[in-house]
Amino acid sequence: MKTYIIKNSMVVLLAFMLVMLSACNVNEEIVSGISEDPNNPTDAPAQKVFVAGQVASLLVHEGDADWISNLFTQHLTGVARQPAQFYGYSINATDFNGMWSFAYSRAFTNLKLAEGKLLTGQENIGAVIKINRAMLSGQIAALWGDVPYTQAADDAIENPVYDPQAQVYAAVIGLLDEAIQTLSNSPSNLPNGWDVFSYQGDAERWLRAAYTLRARYKLHTGDLAGALADAEQGINNNTIDPNTGWAAGDLMAPHGGNWRFDMNLLHSELVIDRPGDIDASASVAVTMTRPGGTRENAKTDEGDGRFLFYFTNEATPGLNTNDGGFFGASAPFPLVTYAENELIKAEILARNGDQAGALDALNNVRAYNQSRFGGTYDALVASDFQAGGAYANTTVLQEIYDEEYLSLMGQIEVFNFVRRVAYDSLSPLLNPRSGASTIPQRYRYPQSELDANENIPSPQPGLFTKTQANGG
């Protein structure tokens, strides 16, 4: 009896175990196939991801990273709440969380994903994506120095390493090399619906922008010869586009006036989101461009055209947030411009001692300014900078720098420029209230990255530590 029970128990137990094991698979089978979200797709085609990536990039080029840059360069004045603190260089790691998150988890990621989804035959689209990626990573590296690039937005890697700034610049230039090669070989336009910027898929204009961008980043890294050669092939169309009011060759982000839909982000920030926090009350650009200001002389009378594009004409000038102004609700936003391209040439030639060549390039910008803003921008000649000349008190290079300071106004690039050439040591851009001896030389790494990425550089570089490209 006993053995019978034991034997049977063993059989039952064995059978039971078999049932359990096989049921395991059956159960898994039954619940499988419905784990995918029916509300949102788990993938999207390259075109839609690229559009998202470009729009997200605008939040970096035109968003808080931009107006904070322009607070540091004294184009804008922070007068209340956080902008007032930032203006006095009191800015913490947490203040950089948002823009960093946008730069990587929205812009970088979606541009990279879009590129990976392209098919053979879409090489020219790939080239435009590469230009977008280069423009994004170039600015990230310029602002933060050593940053994740090779391992960024790689699903296999949770803690991306920080690549040295020089290597990121090299990679950015590499992306542009590839884009230039592709677009040079097959300059066919992009299909509709891919390019959200003003070029609307025009391959030739993208090719020129790629050259200007490569010139920009070569200049950042000190490759003057390379930068000059690229600028020679860069944006050259300076006819005024009636739609944008800018040069037809300029890469512009289009805007409508609808808040949180397509409104100019600076307008949104200044007028709707944080009204009263930022103005132009201590803007250096105001003193430079104000009618009857320091730059007025026998060769140059800017009048109020340029001034009124950026500012309003009051006792205490404000920012022109009206239609037609730089900060207007539907004002297009510049990303790479003809003026930048010519000024790269001018700066390099001047630094190389080719004063005549430098003045040619500068005069191109002056002529362009005159066609945009009116006023008088007579062509300058070498003698203007000699005793008795209208520019006797300055140098060609300084005049080029001053023009760069004004032409790049409102862009992150103006902060890159100021740090690159130490423009603040030539002109008083230091906030006297800050107690610092120099303007900030970089952005801090964000708190979110400090908390979560074990590969973040240690020790942390301070706000006033120059990046490697600028001699840090």
Partner: protein, 1138 residues
């Protein structure tokens, strides 16, 4: 193997044949009476256990069982409220008459235990603790919501009703929180089948949220708990299995416990009698507690009324109640009761039941009509129909069907942090402002007429170009409506087959489907949605459940028997929300239609979850005193990640030893029953659906590119774009694991006159799911991961005692007491995780603290080296020399240090960080119920005690700013000399803008106040000392200084939410004696009156501390911010049984 099957079939056939072999049968009949009174007991169950043949007694207590084959049987007689009686009886060939007298079971200690799977078992053989609540206790509570009807009736079960709105849901929690972001509610199982108790909270825009981690709606309406679709009058019993040890068979849905509900069934009657029961319950509901408001000072600020031409006429002055002392003749209004009235409800129920030995049925219909205490648009109506049929086709095959349909309609008024909420505008209204009329005609300076504009204290002329800021309560209750119409069907079928005496095969199929059609309408004149907003949302949920269960039992020897169970469970849950939000009405007063709007946004959301599992239960009984049970469940679910193990095993085991049955225990008159028990169990909490894969989001609307400063771009304006979700899906996500160990004892003394149960448990949660921050450079910003750990431990005691049992009088007491200690032990390095609330104050998970601690801004407290307060300047910089510093030279902030003061003596808000400011976890909870019976009159008194447990009274914090709170009616007189030596906040920090610091006398002079004839100043405020000398506290400390939560820390507004509550008092009389029955032909009539929440003793100064701003669904608790008030009720019951 084939041989075995053949044997099996042969055995089955033999079993079928046996019935016809015996031709000789007999009839058993008799009468069932009460042993004490001798009254006959109609409706008692009489069953011959061996052959499951039975009958129930008729109106005279008579029963009759026919066609009984000869043999020896156990005759079991049971009746609600009486101790079950078993008697061996020999049946021969002749008919037998056998009368039985039952003894009243006043304590209900020997009740049947209902297992996790819904089977009945002997409670004395269980190795786990559970609490049982009889249906009668719930229906007698007068609550029309099952959950609130359970309040204070079971140890370890905490029930918090979210407000006094009619039909408002409640939050139930058993033995503490086991998860950070997962579901905290127990699983509800009705007649063996899981049903929904989901609460989909609505925000102010009416969109339901179904997010993992629960909603965090600090506004919107109070929603229902779906379990309240079940009419409490249909419930026979509720068994509460408190955790994994008892409930592990439900696997990843069992960690929070399982509430097993048995519904009422028909019982066999003799001579085809129908049992008809009718009940009518009417109640009167009144407001319970209201925040205290002052009526001494009027609208305005700086002591001037808004009508003051120089100082008063500003929007600040309209907003605040810091105006002049009101003349006693000025009419004042209690705005907490402005739109409050008495609420009434009527609940009628009719049931018809009966049947014979083969078939029983019960049909019931209930209709509840309730009107809330809010003036308009606050109601809850429910009509429910239930049908239950059981049929035995033979002694081997039984089938049963239970069907339940209910329709409920409700109207609600919004609450909370919401300018269209009931109390937000009401309580902020100055006492001298009459909120009536709510509408007014406005004429602009050009003479244009704007008829019927909303009038509020901040816009008394109804100027349509100025918002009303907060909706006038008369307006909001009349013109903003929130409707919900729910149609629900749920039911189950059960087929049970006994091929042999030792084997049973049962199949259960359950379906639960409901549609909740919500319509939230904000008038075009409302403050929240100027222009109007209409949201229509159809929420539909469907659950299908199937269980196939094999059970076998065997008596191996006299001392050893055992049983085995094998089951397979399939469960699928489907939710869909489909609706539109439309804004900007074209015709402001057209019927609510989406197309009557300038902007229409449709939305759709769907989710589907499926679980499949195999489970087993093995039990053994040794020497009729040792009971061993082991269960196991192997479960797969669609919410488990594909890279996880996919199948998880949930074991449990328990051991019970009835030591009083041991040979060495020679019956004792003191301890007549004793059992010790121990158990262990593992259960899980399922991850939310769709967390395992990464999605792409349409970069528009809520998924647009919005930066932290408020600017955004929408990809739809750039041709349309999809971006990858910044929250990474985690394919390795697995269920949260909860392990529980429980030990305890059940003892009964003096022949079951006293029962005592004690349980001690320890629970650990591992792999609790968190949304963990990852470096943005990885392409994601966060990822759901099994990262956190929690633990709970506690004690539960249940005591019942029959103090007196005389022939006409009895007195019994039952007490439940419980204490739970919860701790979040690991948050994966994250300091705190928001559960619900605001950026200022919230309920959070904090490592090392109980889940849900109240988190907010605090007083600055620098550690002092000499005991004297540390002094700071207005910037918070230390200007005294007595602050203790750490090794790096930084001043130490310590929570235990005295409050730091500024150089004028005012306290200062800690500008550096928020921290824990309170803990809503009570120290312990208890329910004490006393029942007195004299003949047919019974009186029951239930007292509910919650010791400790903080509530953040955000309402008081806000009212302090406005100056309407009842605390703020001080009047103080000081001499001019004293005034010139003291500072008030406004003088110290120059709120008048004079350009310099002024002492109080100068300050008063600056605002135009002169001393009285005696040279004294009388002001609204008081003088106090925060540690560095006296300061004047006047209005400026409240609207500019640190004493209101708008302008200062949240810490001072945390209050002890402990209470003692007279939860229930009920007095019932039953007419059922013989004369009555003969006269009326009825079985019985009960009449009763019940009072609920009649008295509340609490130090809490807001509404009833049993409240929760963020509803049932969110995991946070302990917050009160303009919550809707709760009620107390008088309930009159009439029950007629035929």
């Amino acid at each position: 193997m084939n041989k075995k099957i053949l044997t099996f079939i042969a055995l089955c056939l033999a079993g079928l044949l046996t019935g016809s072999v015996y031709a000789q049968t007999a009839t058993l009949s008799g009468k069932v009476t009460d042993v004490n009174s001798g009254e006959s007991l109609p409706g008692a169950n009489v069953v011959l256990k061996e052959i499951l043949k039975g009958s129930s007694t008729d109106a005279d207590g008579n029963y009759k069982i026919t066609n009984i084959p000869a043999g020896t049987y156990t005759l079991e007689v049971s009746f609600i409220g009486y101790k079950k009686k078993a008697q061996t009886i020999d049946i021969g060939s002749s008919d037998i008459t056998f009368d039985i007298a039952l003894e009243a079971d006043l304590l209900g200690l020997q009740e049947i235990y209902v297992t996790a799977l819904g089977f009945e078992a002997n409670r004395d053989e269980q190795g786990t603790s559970s609490s049982n609540v009889r249906g009668q206790e719930i229906s007698q509570s007068g609550e029309n919501n099952l959950l609130t009807g359970l309040s204070a009736k079971a140890a370890g079960v905490s029930i918090v009703s979210t407000s006094g709105d009619p039909g408002a849901g409640a939050r139930i929690n058993i033995r503490g929180f086991n998860t950070v972001l997962g579901n905290t509610q127990p699983l509800f199982v009705v007649d063996g089948v899981p049903v929904y108790n989901s609460t989909i909270e609505s925000a102010v825009d009416g969109v339901g949220t179904a997010v993992f981690g629960g909603s965090n709606n600090v506004d919107g309406t109070v929603e229902q708990s779906r379990i309240q679709d079940l009419n409490p009058n249909d419930i026979a019993s509720v068994e509460i299995l408190k955790g994994p040890s008892a409930a592990a068979l439900w696997g990843s849905r069992a960690a929070n416990g399982v509430v097993i509900i048995k519904t009422k069934k028909g019982v066999p009657t003799t001579s085809n009698k129908l049992n008809i029961a009718f009940s009518s319950i009417s109640s009167l509901n009144q407001i319970n507690e209201t925040p205290n408001l002052q009526t001494r000072y009027g609208q305005g600020f700086l002591g001037y009324a808004p009508s003051d031409p120089i100082n008063g006429n500003s929007s600040t002055s309209r907003q605040l109640t810091w105006g002049p002392l009101l003349d006693p003749s000025t009419p004042v209004y209690n705005h907490a009761r402005d739109v409050i009235k008495d609420g009434y409800s009527l609940d009628n129920n009719l049931s018809i039941s009966g049947g014979d030995q083969n078939t029983t049925f019960m049909l019931s219909v209930g209709n509840l009509n309730s009107e809330g205490i809010i003036r308009n648009n606050s109601s809850y109506d429910r009509t429910s129909v239930r049908a239950s049929v059981q049929h035995g086709f033979s002694e081997k095959l039984n089938a049963s069907v239970n069907l339940n349909y209910s329709e409920s309609n409700s109207d609600r008024i919004q609450k909370g942090s919401n300018t269209s909420g009931l109390y937000l505008g009401a309580l902020r209204t100055p006492p001298d402002f009459d909120n009536q009329p709510a509408l007014i005609d406005y004429v602009d300076p050009n003479g244009n007429l704007f008829p019927d504009q909303q009038r509020s204290f901040r816009n008394p002329t109804g100027n349509p170009s100025v918002t009303s800021f907060y909706d006038n309560p008369y307006f909001t209750t009349k013109y903003n409506t929130n409707k919900s119409d729910v149609n629900r069907f749920f039911g189950n079928t059960e087929l049970s087959y006994n091929p042999t005496s030792w084997l049973n095969i049962t199949h259960r199929m359950g379906i639960d489907n409901y549609t909740d059609r919500r319509q939230e309408y904000l008038d075009a004149r409302s403050a929240t949605a100027p222009g109007g907003q209409f949201t229509a949302n159809n929420i539909q949920e469907t659950q299908i459940n199937s269980d196939l269960i094999l059970q076998a039992s065997h008596q191996f020897t006299n001392e050893f028997s055992g049983s085995a169970l094998l089951g397979w469970n399939y469960n699928q849950r489907d939710q869909e929300q489909l609706g539109t939000i439309s804004r900007g009405f074209i015709l402001p007063d057209a019927p609510a239609q989406p197309d009557n709007a300038n902007s229409i946004s449709p939305f759709k959301f769907k989710q589907l979850e499926r679980t499949s599992a195999l489970y087993t239960e093995l039990s053994a009984n040794l020497y009729d005193q040792l009971y061993l049970k082991g269960t196991g469940r192997m479960e797969s679910a669609s919410t488990f990640g594909p890279a996880s193990d996919k199948t998880y095993f949930y074991p449990s085991g328990s051991l019970a030893w009835q030591f009083t049955s041991a040979d060495w225990y020679h019956g004792d008159n003191i301890l007549n029953f004793g059992k010790i028990r121990g158990s262990y169990g593992e259960a899980g909490i399922q991850p939310g659906p769709y967390l395992t894969s990464t999605t792409f989001l349409n970069a528009t609307g809520g998924n647009n590119f919005l930066n932290g400063w408020g600017a955004a771009l929408d990809a739809n304006n750039y041709g349309g774009g999809f971006r990858r979700n910044q929250v990474a899906g985690n394919p390795a996500l697995k269920p949260e694991q909860v392990r529980e160990i429980e030990i305890g004892t059940d003892l009964r003394f003096f022949d079951d006159r006293i029962g005592l149960s004690f349980s001690r448990y320890w629970k650990k949660t591992t792999d609790a799911i968190l949304n963990v921050t990852v470096p943005a450079s990885s392409g994601f910003t966060s990822k759901f991961a099994n990262a956190a750990k929690l633990k709970n431990s506690g004690y539960e005691v249940e005591l019942s005692a029959e103090w007196l049992r005389l022939s006409n009088f009895s007195w019994t007491t039952s007490i439940n007491w419980s204490k739970n200690k919860n701790e979040v032990t690991d948050l994966a390095g994250v300091s705190n995780v928001l559960l619900s609330g605001f950026t200022s104050f919230s309920s959070q998970a904090v490592e090392g603290e109980p889940l849900g601690v109240i988190w907010g801004t605090r007083w600055l407290r620098y550690e002092s080296s000499d005991g004297a307060p540390v002094i700071v300047n207005s910037q918070g910089d230390i200007i005294s020399n007595n602050a203790m510093t750490d090794a790096d030279g930084n001043a130490i902030i310590a929570g235990s240090a005295p409050i730091t003061v500024d150089q004028f003596g005012f306290p200062v808000t800690d500008p550096f960080s928020q921290g824990v400011i309170g803990d809503p976890t009570p120290d312990w909870r208890a329910g004490i119920s006393n029942t007195f019976k004299y003949k047919n009159l019974s009186l029951n008194v239930l007292v509910d005690i919650k010791q400790g447990g903080d509530v953040h009274n955000g309402t008081r914090g806000a009212l302090y700013f406005f100056g309407t709170h009842g605390d703020q009616n001080w009047t103080t007189t000081i001499s001019q000399e004293e005034a010139s030596q003291l500072y008030n906040y406004g003088g110290a920090y120059d709120v008048l803008g004079t350009g310099q610091t002024s002492n109080f006398a100068q300050y008063l002079a600056n605002k135009g106040v002169t001393p009285d004839a005696d040279g004294n100043y009388t002001f609204r405020g008081y003088i106090t000392d925060y540690g560095s000398g006296n300061v004047v506290i006047d209005e400026t400390a409240y609207w500019a200084g640190p004493l209101s939560s708008f302008t200062g820390p949240d810490e001072p507004f945390v209050e002890d939410g402990g209470y003692v509550r007279l939860r229930e008092v009920s007095l019932f009389y039953t007419f059922n004696n013989r004369n009555f029955r003969d006269l009326t032909g009825l079985s019985s009539i009960d009449v009763g009156v019940t009072g609920r929440n009649l008295i509340l003793w609490t130090d809490y100064t807001g509404v009833d501390p049993e409240t929760n701003l963020t509803g049932q669904d969110g995991n946070g608790w302990g917050l009160d911010y303009f919550n809707n008030p709760s009620t107390r009720s008088w309930i009159f019951t009439l029950r007629v049984n035929y």
